[in-house]
Symmetry: C2
Subunit: 342 residues, 2 copies
DNA sequence: GGTTTTTCCGCAAGCGTTTGCACATCCATT
DNA sequence: AATGGATGTGCAAACGCTTGCGGAAAAACC
């Protein structure tokens, strides 16, 4: 057991020069003579010297690490997002410290604590469903750790975020159905209080009322996104007074359950009844009766964009913008987009 | 802009005591008087003091961070795995530094470099498809950074790994089909040189030859896992001399493509032809003709187990087992398991 | 040859924390 | 009253690296 790992000190001793010279030589500092510079660099290579980042992190108060907190890593949406995040981070020479909250506020707080302790340079968060107290985010301000929220955004002022606007996609979806001749269009929405549900509904209303039909609340049903809930919602919609010829569903999974339900009711898919949904999961290629179209939310791009935004924020910070008094907040909205299948 | 963040020094000054006393008081060291101990702790709370982990990391040469390198975060298998990894790490008070190789050897090397620089305590890797030079892993030995491989294991001796044995599950699958009366059983396997393909084939041969049928190589076709490849393979199998009544496919995606192909050939699924596959993706619940059964590979559990193993390794290391001379290598095999659908 | 400029390098402080050791104080034991 | 053991606290080094500053040596000028 010798010196496991060579340090700058070791090099200095072997060459009989000072550590500062070695440090500068390694950084190609102009004030070091060519001769010593190459001597140092050669020995460094020979010893396989690698700077101890933890020392540098500590010394510079910067870790080149960004914390990422997501609700559920195994969900398709978030796993696509983390992929985009990692790619963007790697490109910007940052690394990703990862945590998943499992939609638990408690765990979210713990993770923030951990991230803070690790002195991440910045934080990327998609908040847990149940978070409605935002004090733990505030706590990061004194540490000067900027946060970029994405997808799931808390309703507080003065934050940076990246999100995807569902309204536009919803309007496109309805328009698409309209051009296909549908006039009675239903919607199976998510839980009423979810912001995502509200957006979809807004888009629905906006598209339906725009110089054509009027908004019939009976055509919109909320559900809890469980299979049972979806079945109930579908049945309610299809046995109602005005039976829709097309249905927009909260996401692809809902669509698939709804399709099954419709088939059990002896309806011909894409004939008696059409479906359009959100998310555009890869599985839609494989199902027997995929929705006709999906509103794509670009999770990869969202993650990527959020990361880029955060990194930009970090650059500014190190450029001497000592605090956020001159605060401009990034509010980046990606537009969702309807994607037709086959 | 004052002292953004309180340090131990700050507390010491305010209380007119030495930093060492503060440090010990904060750690409940027994040699500190109760009186000063509470004084310190109260002021610390009031100032919202939090230790600077980067300083501690540096000082202790330990980061409580484990590096994780996966080929593709957005793949269902790996996103389930990372979920298990994060959960296990969090439980053991470690955090996860994440990287994805996109199956590029180059990027894999870069990531290892980054992880090394960050001085992660240990590393968890599922190697890229194309990796066949393992020198970059060796480089970690002198840094005393243990590696646990999982799922995709390099073929080198003296390593720790966690993997899932596909043989057993394959045997179960064939047995299952056998009890259902099938005698001619085909297989659509992956690329020939993939270890995962070999294991499946081994299981297939083992089950087929065990006091029943004999192994007919014509019933096994390899494919490149693309949709086109799967279609070709399926057609070849179903138009062959001995037409199988059941087919085992490399994974669920292959199964879905194969099902489509079979249907185009006017075969009735689950009647003329049955399918069994691997992976057990959630989507199989939603497809019109899911495979009858899938061999589950427990990605979450694999990730979890690998992480636990790594953490155990780390404990031992800090317990003075200075190096791995007394090396016992963990080789942990989870058994795959057949899961019947509906 | 003296002066200025340039070139090159070392000293030392500092980042925040832990920890071995020495030291001081106090109380109890002889 | 001297000795001994607790009990509580401070000093200082160490972890590896960066960087402002000062200064020696070499090169350039008149």
């Amino acid at each position: 057991m010798k010196k496991q790992v060579p340090t700058i000190k070791e090099i200095a001793k072997q060459l009989n020069i000072s550590v500062s010279t070695v440090s500068r030589a390694l950084h190609d500092h102009k004030s070091i003579g060519l001769r010593t510079k190459t001597r140092v660099q050669e020995l460094a290579k020979q010893l396989q010297y690698e700077p101890n980042q933890t020392a540098i992190f500590f010394q510079q108060g910067k870790t080149f690490t960004i914390g990422v907190i997501l609700p559920e890593l195994s969900e398709a949406f978030f796993s696509a997002a983390i992929s985009g995040i990692e790619d963007a981070a790697h490109k910007g020479n940052y690394t990703v410290l990862l945590g998943q909250s499992h939609d638990s506020v408690e765990k979210e707080k713990q993770l923030i604590e951990t991230m803070k302790k690790h002195r991440v340079d910045g934080l990327l968060i998609s908040i847990s469903k149940n978070t409605n107290d935002y004090s733990h985010f505030e706590a990061l301000r004194r540490y000067n750790i900027p946060i970029v929220f994405f997808d799931r955004i808390p309703k507080i002022p003065n934050i940076h975020y990246v999100a995807c606007n569902m309204i536009n996609g919803t309007v496109q979806a309805i328009n698409f159905l309209f051009t296909k001749g549908h006039r009675i269009i239903g919607m199976i929405n998510g839980p009423e209080k979810l912001p995502a549900s509200k957006e979809r509904l807004d888009g629905y209303i906006q598209a339906m009322t725009k110089d054509r039909l009027k908004y019939d609340p009976a055509l919109v049903v909320n559900c809890d996104l469980t299979t049972a809930g979806v079945i109930a919602a579908t049945e309610k919609l299809l046995t109602g007074k005005r039976r829709p010829t097309a249905i927009v569903t909260f996401n692809d999974y809902v669509a698939l359950d709804a399709v099954q339900t419709a088939r059990k009711m002896k309806l011909k898919i894409n004939k008696d009844i059409c479906f359009v949904s959100y998310a555009n999961l890869p599985l839609t290629n494989y199902t027997a009766y995929p929705p006709m179209a999906s509103v794509e939310q670009f999770p990869y791009q969202q993650g990527q964009k959020a990361t880029e935004t955060l990194i930009e924020l970090l650059q500014h910070k190190s450029n001497g913008d000592t605090d956020n008094s001159n605060a401009t907040y990034y509010k980046i909205i990606l537009e969702s987009q309807l994607v037709l299948h086959e």
